[in-house]
């Protein structure tokens, strides 16, 4: 492992630095060399049609997908470590993941645990925080997402929007440096989307670093500092939302936006 480049990265001040990331599923090249820099406190949205590789990119950052080539850095620590194997890598990735909160399209709450246990188990087991202390600050998180009354409820009794808000609280409970949202509202009924968006906007206002994969152009333009348009495994165009949404340079971006804004 090259410790020099690690030192270099400690000084960049970047929360996320993604360099030339490549990933293929068999013959299918899903990511063809992605570069992305996210500053501390920055909110970056990734848009693009299905199959453009945006979800794969997000999952690669959390190492739910193993990339074939490139570098992923989180706050000066390299996430993917090509030279590291077995238990050493397992320990490394577990500690790296504790700094990243991931929110999934399908919520993936633990159905056998109450809302409170869904949120509090990770800080208790992984950070060794005592039960009463964990309960206290997890209750604050549930209050933040407006679900303190549901602490003892099991996930099967929650609506989709409530489930996703619990999932956000669960990710926040590890006090991550960055939050990754993988189409957090795509599986929700239209009338439930707003309650999740509100929670995400609140996080944005608190300067949480966020990387958001989304199909919702309005939300992306409202909340982001920076927007990436991905197409066929490459970043086709990027820029501040005002520019990308109202004055896109690339033909493919224009086509995509036209199609999607018609739908909405």
């Amino acid at each position: 492992m090259d410790s020099n480049s690690k030192d270099d990265h400690a000084n960049t001040g970047l929360m996320l630095d993604i360099i030339n990331v490549k990933k293929a599923f068999g013959e299918l090249k899903v990511l063809k060399g992605i570069d992305l820099q996210v500053q501390r406190g920055q909110i970056v949205s990734i848009i693009g049609s299905s199959g453009s590789g945006k979800s794969t990119l997000l999952r690669s950052i959390n190492h739910l997908e193993t990339i074939d080539d490139g570098e992923i850095w989180l706050d000066g620590v390299r996430v993917n470590q090509p030279g590291m194997k077995g238990l050493a890598f397992e320990n490394h990735i577990n500690s790296v993941r504790q700094n990243m909160g991931m929110v999934f399209q399908q919520f993936n709450l633990f159905p056998h645990l109450s809302t409170m246990d869904n949120v509090r188990l990770a800080p208790m087991k992984l950070k060794g925080i005592g039960k009463s202390e964990a309960t206290e600050f997890c209750m604050e998180l549930l209050e933040k997402v407006g679900l303190e009354a549901k602490a003892d409820t099991y996930p099967s009794h929650l609506s989709g929007g409530q489930k996703q808000r619990v999932a956000i609280a669960r990710a926040l409970a590890m006090q991550p440096k960055v939050m990754l949202f993988d189409e957090a509202t795509s599986a929700l009924d239209p009338e439930l989307v707003e309650e999740v968006n509100l929670v995400m906007k609140q996080l944005a206002s608190e300067h949480m670093t966020m990387l958001i994969v989304t199909h919702e152009m309005n939300f992306a333009s409202e909340v982001s500092d920076h927007v990436l348009f991905m197409d066929q495994g490459v970043v086709c165009e990027q820029g501040p939302p005002e520019q990308l949404f109202s004055n896109p340079k690339e033909e493919r971006t224009r086509e995509f936006l036209k199609k999607h804004l018609q739908q909405q």
Binding site: N62, L64, E90, N91, N94, S95, R97, Q98, M100, G101, M102, F104, Q106, N108, L109, F110, P111, H112, L121, A122, K125, L126, Y154, S156, H157, A167, R170, A171, M174
Partner: protein
């Protein structure tokens, strides 16, 4: 035809002792079959091939041959080559291992049925592989397996009677002992049937209650 249950009432203590052993065997074999079944399932799914292949062979072997034959082999077969295990222990082990094979198959199926997203959610929080299994996958798999495991345990309770053939003094053998004294097979066997029925009824009701409690947590 004249039924006379007096000999049964006079010798109820022998039946109760037998029933006690039946319960003891069922509980011990049950624990062995459940804990062992889970261990076998986890090993065949995630373990080293050096362990998982022999275990798969073991499951195939025990599911493919009759319990009665397995007990004969364990008791008389091993006895012939000088390995003498007391009948009671042989019975508990034989019954436990037989149902361990069935339970392992159930656990394997329910563990595999847990959605991939559960694993991803746990791992993304920073839980390790073993922690993910222990805190999230196994509890859910056990919840899902409960109805089938319950059925197996009810069948196993009845199958404790097979242990009478190797001389374990459980309910049936004790009844046979009194039948030899009293020549009242009909009365004794009917009484034994009633006792089995009551034991299963207790088991079924408590299982149902347990499952009700877990409803909505799957």
């Amino acid at each position: 035809m004249n039924f006379d249950f007096t000999p049964v009432f006079e010798n109820y203590e022998t039946l109760l002792t037998g029933a006690g052993y039946t319960i003891l065997i069922a509980v011990l074999s049950g624990i062995l079959s459940l804990v062992g079944g889970l261990a076998v399932a986890l090993t065949t799914l995630y373990g080293n091939k050096a362990f998982s292949y022999p275990l798969r062979f073991f499951i195939w072997l025990f599911m493919g041959t009759p319990l009665l034959l397995q007990l004969y082999l364990l008791f008389f077969g091993l006895g012939q080559i000088g390995i003498l295990i007391p009948a009671m222990l042989t019975g508990i082990l034989g019954l436990g291992i037989h149902y361990m094979a069935y339970n392992a198959d159930i656990f394997r199926a329910t563990i595999e049925s847990i959605e991939k997203g559960q694993n991803e959610a746990a791992r993304s929080l920073g839980f390790g592989r073993m922690q993910t299994l222990w805190f999230f996958i196994v509890p859910q798999a056990v919840n899902r397996a409960l109805p089938q495991l319950g059925n197996n345990m009810i069948i196993m309770l009845k199958d404790t009677s097979v242990l009478s053939v190797i001389g374990v003094a459980e309910l049936v053998l004790n009844a046979q002992f009194e039948i030899a004294n009293t020549f009242r097979p009909f009365e004794f066997y009917i009484s034994v049937a009633v006792i089995y029925y009551i034991l299963n009824l207790i088991m079924e009701t408590s299982l149902n209650r347990f499952e009700k409690k877990l409803e909505g947590r799957r």
